[in-house]
């Protein structure tokens, strides 16, 4: 169970069938610009949480796959678009000081033998 979840999460881009990806492609086009869809996780007027979440996701992504992995750019673009400069500098400072707790390690479910309950 644990390994299965890990495989799916690490290779999500390969596990989705191509026909399905085609179906969910955004049809709205504007020359020279990539549209950014509405994030339904953050429906409130306050978007500070979206900024933090995408930054944390970016840190986790580069921790797992490395900075050269193309899909990580999605998160970085997203947090660069949304975070005010002051907040962004603060988050970068935390990462530099090795004090950004959420980006330090991948989510617990991805760590082998971390959770004793699933082993038996």
């Amino acid at each position: 169970m644990d390994r299965k979840v890990k495989d799916v999460l690490l290779n999500w881009d390969k596990s989705v069938p191509e026909e399905m990806m085609e179906e969910y492609k955004v049809e709205y086009k504007f020359d020279g610009v990539t549209p950014q869809p509405f994030d339904a996780r953050f429906t409130t007027w306050n978007q500070m949480r979206l900024c933090w979440q995408n930054f944390a996701d970016y840190q986790r992504c580069i921790k797992l796959k490395g900075k050269t992995y193309e899909p990580c750019k999605w998160f970085s673009n997203r947090y660069l678009s949304f975070c005010p400069a002051k907040k962004r500098n603060k988050l970068h400072f935390l990462v530099e000081e090795d004090a950004f707790a959420s980006g330090k390690r991948p989510p617990p479910m991805l760590l082998e033998g971390d959770d004793g309950h699933d082993e038996h």
Binding site: G32, S81, P84
Partner: protein
Amino acid sequence: MSQWGGTYYSMNFSMAASLSKFLYECIMTINCFVLTTVVCGLVMALSSGRVVGHCRKYLKNELLEAIWTIVPAFLIYLIASMSFYVLYMNGEHKEPTLFHSVITGHQWYWTYQYAMIDEMGKFFGFEHDSYALLNDVPSTSDDDTVLSKGDTYLLDVDAPFVIPQGMPGELLVTSDDVIHSWSVPALGITVDAVPGRLNRSPILASTVGVAYGHCRELCGVNHFMMPICVEIVTPATYLKFMKLEEIEE
């Protein structure tokens, strides 16, 4: 834009502003009708008081009571339906957003942060401050907040905020010190800038032009001198502007 000696609202640059103006005009018409009716009725009732028996017409008059219950209820229903229409038309865009801008309020200037992703997925972003043009003579050698001919005092800024026309976007407004409020009536937008919050507002400018606004929340002694100047340009110009700034960095 607003003009000298103008007594009415400034020109609309977005659907939101047009709808707000439409709502204002409709409600004002109904208000005028109500005011006239009530004043006429009152004057009639008061002036005919000396005639014996006249006021008996108003007592236990079921038809009159039915009318003054049904007509105001209908008017309230009319106002509510128009308000809800405008409220929901000014909500989210149907299309996904094409650009994001983070606006940060400071004592006493605005910082504009631009973000856009091009067709290749490359991120373009930069930021600049926007100060009011206050001085007639430059105070230092590199002072660029000097009024030149044609600039409006306390409305024009050294670096205006640039948005594209016809592209749905999103404004994210926050503050670094005290509460400010980013307001441009011509675009139909007023968003409070609260420290620690990132308030979102959809924006879609319909025409090209220059719109002005002011800080709408009392934020200190120099509250009057942090104006907002928005330059609405064509999408092609906006794309050039975004990429030009990136190359300069």
